[in-house]
């Protein structure tokens, strides 16, 4: 009883804060404290649930992460609103799971359906969720904008990346080195698929693995028999169609819910789609062909081929971003209401960007299959949990930049390298769990630098390029304003002082008072005894 009353009060406070945070503060509630309590309550509930399912569940990161799909399916049945309906949904899913385990005997191709049932229930329930009303207010996504490179600049950048990789292939000339460099490039192509979707249009997908799988299949069945590189086009096309199909239910969701929905789709695909005969039920084996006289069987030649593919796909994306379609994408992100009233069909725009992103992931799948010479449903890249780290890597690299995908690819491979090779060092214990800890560490780094590696590099080195010297610096509210001449040839304005105070972190009561109308300077202020 006591805990129920306590829970009720916490829940209500949490609800108030969700409802109207500033109003809650006006009534004297302390929003931060209530948020902390809500988190604490939610964590302890999860821990209680953990105790209850301990007999059935193994202590495994991936398996426990996948539990979120069951929970999310129940929440969607409750329309993310009704507690009793959510409870009923959870009971339904639990019953379906345990009854199917006992009474539903599925052999052959539908073998995987049993474990995919929660995800299937979720997808069905999603179709009953009404579409979001277009909101007439600006989205809360940060509006950081990054410079869009000109095509020529981008081409130069991709050439530079390719040259760096080729040079590196001579330094790290052994088999492992070459394999790792190739893996950097194939991962980079995969991460490119996040750039239009997450970087430009602000949508999150954890389901990119599905399209890699589709790429495996579409490319594999064609290419393995004919050795024709046109299989890449086929992979892109089939994946694009799959992307649009996946987007249909997913479009009803936004933000965190969209991420969870795509995650569920990825996991369901793993259990149902790949196991079909003719898809990835049996492993597909490849031999790399000769292309324009170059033998792709040679690993270094293949690395060059990967660099070319990265450049081609990257350039295509930059071209899209510079086109009217790219502008429209940003417009839909910045203000859906304004875009709709100008005649932009929001549904079509969102479907299209999902399809584009899926096409890129499909190409990446084809490339990965070609690299590993075999495509199988057991490939770790198809594991839905991998989708989480992929998103993280590309955000660390800089999700709004095509070069960010490359940086993310390098970072992903570095972590793998450290884990494999530093086993003998005194810190081996730490490194063994590195890939478990690294994402969390990386998440913290992302908080402090949302631009990612590529964004920081662009800011730091961009001005070294002769043709970018004259460009205006991006407006940063915390940057010291133009104080040129202040205190010498002209007085400090209030803005000068405020921007300096902000930058130096001066507490409000200590700030120097400057009369906006009175010309003055720091020296004059000091003489007046104000400093």
């Amino acid at each position: 009883m006591l805990s129920q009353r306590f829970a009720r009060s916490v829940a209500q406070r949490a609800y108030e804060i969700v409802d109207d945070r500033s109003l809650a503060a006006l009534t004297g509630a302390r929003p931060e404290r209530s948020s902390m309590l809500a988190w604490a309550l939610s964590c302890s509930l999860a821990a209680t649930a953990g105790i209850l399912i301990a007999p059935d569940a193994t202590l495994n990161k991936a398996a426990l992460t996948l539990l979120v799909i069951d929970a999310f399916a129940a929440a969607i049945i409750g329309r993310l609103r009704s507690l009793p309906l959510t409870f009923a949904g959870a009971i339904l899913i639990g019953m379906v799971k345990s009854y199917s385990a006992t009474f539903l005997v599925l052999g052959g191709r539908w073998f995987g359906l049993q474990s995919a049932l929660p995800a299937v229930v979720l997808l069905v329930a999603l179709f009953f969720v009404p579409y979001d009303r277009i909101e007439a207010r600006r989205s809360t996504m940060s509006h950081r904008l990054f410079r869009v490179p000109r095509l020529r600049e981008a081409a130069l950048g991709f050439l530079l990346i390719a040259l760096t990789m080729i040079a590196a292939s001579y330094v790290l000339g052994d088999v492992e080195g070459l394999n790792r460099l190739t893996a950097v490039m194939t991962t980079a192509v995969l991460l490119l698929s996040f750039v239009p979707l997450t970087g430009w249009s602000g949508q999150v997908s954890l389901g990119q693995a599905v399209f890699v799988g589709v790429g495996f299949w579409a490319f594999g069945t064609h290419f393995a028999h004919t050795g024709n590189v046109a299989g890449f086009g086929r992979a892109a096309l089939v994946a694009a169609v799959a992307g649009a199909l996946v987007a249909l239910p997913a479009l009803r969701l936004r933000g965190l819910y969209l991420a969870l929905g795509t995650f569920a789709i990825a996991s369901a695909a793993g259990q149902i789609f790949y196991t079909q005969s003719g898809v990835l039920q049996n492993e597909i084996e490849y031999t790399r062909p000769k292309l324009l006289g170059f033998d792709l069987a040679d690993q270094r030649t293949f690395l060059v081929f990967c660099c070319v593919m990265f450049g081609v796909v990257g350039l295509a994306l930059v071209a899209v971003r510079r086109s009217r379609y790219g502008r429209r994408l940003i417009a839909v992100r910045d203000s859906p209401a304004a875009a709709a009233t100008l005649g932009v069909n929001l549904t079509v725009a969102k479907l299209a960007v999902f399809a584009l992103s899926a096409a890129v992931a499909g190409i990446a799948g084809a490339l990965i299959a070609m690299d590993q010479l075999v495509a199988s449903s057991q490939n770790p890249i198809l594991n839905p949990v991998t989708g989480l780290s992929m998103l993280l890597f590309v955000v660390i690299g800089g999700v709004a930049f095509t070069s960010g995908a490359f940086a993310g690819g390098v970072f992903s491979e570095l972590i793998d390298f450290v884990k494999m090779h530093l086993t003998a060092s005194p810190f081996a214990g730490v490194f063994k769990t590195f890939d478990d800890v690294a994402p969390a560490v990386a998440a913290v780094s992302v908080l402090t630098n949302p631009d990612g590696i590529a964004g920081s590099c662009s800011k730091a080195f961009g001005r070294l390029l002769p043709w970018r010297r004259g460009e205006p610096v991006e407006h940063d509210p915390n940057a010291i304003g133009d104080v040129g001449g202040a205190g010498v040839t002209r007085g400090f304005t209030r803005d000068d002082v405020e921007s300096m105070d902000r930058r130096l972190g001066v507490p409000v009561p200590l700030r120097i008072g400057i009369d906006g109308d009175r010309p003055g300077s720091l020296v004059a202020a000091a003489l007046d005894g104000e400093v």
Binding site: P31, A136, A339
Partner: protein, 492 residues
């Protein structure tokens, strides 16, 4: 036949009728004005016309086609374009790209076969934005953002242009340029529907005006007719004419003048949002137990001043004292616990909680839940009838009663009210003011912000008029009442 015909349109948000049975027509070749007090439903009507808001009843016809259930982008392709009251620019694109997005949407609708780039550049020159064409829009001031929205709307080559307060944030020169531009546009046979608070601008630009109040069209006609219409004057200034304002109702306790022991003191307070300063030096003292009415048109800085008082905004400069203690920088929750009760603009309630749950919120500042419920229900029997109803589904007046229950049940020292009367019928407002007067008689220092005078001057001890972030006039209610008409209806 008019280009746009709105017939019998009603929109309800829970218990609030935002629009009821609105009839309205907009002709080509003229600027039609749409005016009315805050919360009258003007923006809702725009949302209905552009398809962002569904109607409960009624129909909208555009150029003979029924568009009532048509999606927004389809309406845009028929030739409807709009701007927004709260800026909806594409902030991370440049000015030119903002206009380009629109220009690229116009496709096969007109004979103008120029490339989109050319159309955009020509438009930017026309609205004098060519100097800032390559600047990112969210680095520009609000006024410029409005012109960007205007240019963007024009780039779609519309037949009907809906402008939602285009002149707010513009300076005198820009407003005049806007006025000239509108005249040019309607000469090209465009239809313009203009929502605007700047009365001189409306009266000089529009050839026909609809007046909306409480979601109903209360008057339509040429500017001169509307200006003289008694129901319009009543909507803006309250049913009572300024001359009939009498002294406040009998005060059982001795009222203290501001000089005695001020409860609230502001000294040269400057405050604002981001790069924009809204308050340019406010000096104000409110005595203990005094009722101060703070009046002024939209954008004068009244709500900002109230946010400073409630701790939601920290002043950039100046001092804020509460009962003699400096409280610069104290948060809203700290001030609430110190005895400040704020009822913000637009229903100070949690819409998704029930009546009882809302009342439970009042115990954060200390106090027994049972006692709070008892006092609230004794004062408002209508709330006692529906304790488990979700607050968002109460009628507008009931919602404000629930908000006022906080002021009654928690014994605050200071009460801050922001636009209590917004969107409520005059009778309900009168009832609410009586409650406020009763609370104030208990010795509670009260600051009440209203856009329009209504009956608040009966309740107040003193009144102040704000204009452009400064206090323009402060004095007895009858003195201030004499000034009001000129401030509101645009003789100034």
């Amino acid at each position: 036949m008019a280009l746009l015909e709105v017939h019998d349109v009603s929109v309800r948000f829970g218990g609030l009728a935002a629009l009821s049975e609105v009839e309205l027509a907009v002709e080509s070749g003229v600027v039609t004005g749409l005016i009315g007090p805050n919360g009258a439903g003007k923006t809702t009507l725009f949302n209905v016309i552009t398809g962002l808001q569904r109607t409960n009843t009624g129909s909208v016809r555009f150029a003979g086609t029924d568009i009532t259930t048509m999606k927004p982008h389809r309406r845009a392709s028929l030739g409807i374009a709009r701007t927004f009251q709260r800026l909806e620019v594409f902030g991370s694109l440049s000015v030119r790209e903002n206009v380009l997005v629109a220009a690229e949407m116009r496709r096969h609708r007109d004979a103008d076969r120029r490339p989109a780039q050319e159309i955009a550049d020509a438009l930017l020159e026309r609205v004098e934005l060519d100097q800032v064409a390559d600047a990112r829009v969210d680095t520009l001031p609000t006024g410029t953002g409005r012109i960007v929205e205007l240019a963007r709307a024009l780039a779609t080559a519309p037949r009907l242009l809906l402008l939602d307060e285009p002149s707010s944030g513009l300076n005198q020169h820009e407003t005049e340029a806007l006025s000239r531009l509108l005249v040019d546009l309607v000469n090209d046979d465009l239809a313009v529907l203009l929502v605007e608070h700047d009365m001189p601008f409306v009266m000089s630009t529009c050839s026909y005006i609809h007046v909306l109040d409480f979601g109903t069209v209360i008057a339509s006609g040429p500017p001169a007719t509307v200006q003289a219409d008694p129901s319009v004057i009543a909507a803006y200034l309250g049913d009572d004419q300024p001359a009939r304002v009498t002294s406040p109702p009998t005060a059982p306790h001795t009222r203290l003048g501001p000089a005695d022991s001020p409860a609230l003191v502001l000294r040269d307070v400057h405050a604002g949002y981001g790069n924009i300063e809204v308050l340019h030096g406010i000096d104000l003292a409110v005595g203990t137990g005094e009722v101060l009415a703070l009046l002024g048109a939209n954008g004068a800085g009244k709500s900002t001043l109230l946010k400073v008082l409630s701790g939601q905004i920290t002043p950039r400069a100046g001092e804020y004292e509460l009962f003699g203690t400096a409280v610069n920088g104290a948060g809203p929750d700290a001030l609430a616990r110190a005895g400040l009760c704020t009822i913000p603009e637009g229903r100070g309630i949690f819409r998704n909680l029930t009546v009882l749950e809302n009342l439970r919120m009042l115990t954060h500042t200390g106090g027994d839940f049972g006692a709070v419920v008892e006092r609230a229900f004794a004062q408002f029997p209508r709330l006692a009838e529906r304790p488990r109803q979700t607050a968002g589904t109460l009628s507008g007046g009931e919602q404000q009663m629930l908000a006022l229950a906080r002021a009654l049940a928690t014994d605050p020292h200071v009460l801050l009210l922001d636009e209590l009367s917004m969107g409520l019928a005059p009778l309900v407002v009168e009832e609410l003011y009586e409650i406020v007067a009763a609370i104030a008689r208990g010795g509670v220092t009260t600051v009440i912000v209203e856009q329009f005078a209504h009956g608040i001057l009966h309740v107040a001890d003193r009144a102040a008029i704000m204009l452009h972030g400064r206090i323009e006039e402060i004095g007895t209610p009858s003195d201030v009442a004499a000034e009001l008409a000129s401030v509101y209806l645009g003789d100034r």
